[in-house]
Symmetry: C2
Subunit: 210 residues, 2 copies
DNA sequence: GTCTATACTGAGATAGAC
DNA sequence: GTCTATCTCAGTATAGAC
């Protein structure tokens, strides 16, 4: 079981025992975020999610209906989470606001799979249901920055553009150590000079034993 | 068979007949780019690629070895293509250079699946082989803009950031018409006011009958 | 609330003919 | 150079017990 899932389990019920459906759902959503984040929607199996959460595969299906519905909940939850994080960073002096909001974004790196899930959802507009959720989520974030944080159209565009670039850096794993690969981290150094350390160890791994 | 594939076929051999392996490979790569672009790596079947190219599924495997190898060639080809497009846009007055390079990027929207493939590869750094190709491709683009086009580090970062934002807009299909969805195109309007028209009809469709 | 067993399907890959 | 037939496995989902 993943550490996060274990934590939830521990705090909510005696190990191995039964939990309230609500707690179990949350636990599975955490695990699913990590796995979907590491392996993309299509690349993830409900069985891996189940193993990561420490439950049986059929039970995941039982609880969420289908893999697609599970994913939709994961995406929705990720956007909600990010929106909360943004809102929490708005109050305070206007000068540091953009920096605080940026930090709120990269801060989510600590919640396994959160950023990769959002980044991934960004490529799924062609999917009917999922696309709707992703567009709505993205749109809500945009409105938040534009309206609640009071950024101009241009500032908002730049803010999101940098966010998408961070997604790419994270998705490409430009933060890792690829000894023989030319120019790999060089891009990151130029891109976000002070971020190299921050990212280390926080990226989801595809070959994790889920 | 897809229109593009049919074109190649026509120009190279009598319909339905045999082609040189080289031409057939190219034809399949074009089809594969469109399908991978619309459905992502894991979401694409070799059978769909085969049908889009007008050949049998086992033959696709025969020619490229595995689905992964096929995808790697597709990604490599996409990065090569974009690099060429960038290089072709560098000569000329320095003032219009950034605009020309940007246009070179969006211009690739006309080549089915090209941009979606690049955008998608950007999330696959966790995959050993594919990740290496994607990092190398991205890195090469970066070096091209930085060194050959002579952008400063900051200009380069901004240029790529906007490119990634375009990827998101395209991936989310913020260009489409989603009547009931709130704020969907509103984001695009603010983002790239003059681009709405440009994008129309150029986005890959997931439910195309491949 | 949760599991085991299993049915069903789809997809990658192989064999071998033409 | 290209196809048809087919093997094989993995993955979603269902049935039903505890």
């Amino acid at each position: 079981m993943s550490p996060e899932a274990a934590e939830i389990l521990e705090s909510a019920a005696p190990a191995g025992g039964r939990m309230s459906a609500a707690d179990r759902r949350e636990q599975i959503l955490i695990a699913a975020t990590a796995v979907f984040g590491a392996k993309t929607y299509v690349g993830t199996t409900t069985d891996e999610v189940a193993r990561a959460a420490g439950v049986s595969q059929p039970y995941v299906v039982r609880l969420f209906g289908t893999k697609e519905k599970l994913y939709i909940e994961v995406v929705q939850r990720a956007y909600d989470r990010l929106l909360d994080a943004f809102r929490a960073s708005i109050p305070g002096p206007a000068e540091g606001r953009e920096k605080r909001l940026g930090a709120a974004y990269t801060g989510l790196l600590a919640e396994r799979g959160m950023l990769p899930v959002i980044a991934g959802s960004t490529a799924m507009g062609g999917e009917a249901e999922i696309g709707r959720v992703a567009r709505a989520g993205f749109s809500a974030l945009w409105q938040c920055i534009r309206t609640e944080a009071g950024f101009s159209a241009e500032e908002t565009r730049t803010f999101f553009a940098i966010g998408m670039l961070i997604n790419a850096v994270v998705g490409l794993r430009l933060t890792g150590d690829y000894g023989s690969e030319v120019n790999a981290t060089e891009v990151l150094d130029e891109c976000f000079p002070d971020a190299v350390e921050k990212f280390r160890g926080l990226l989801p791994t595809v070959d994790e034993p889920w």
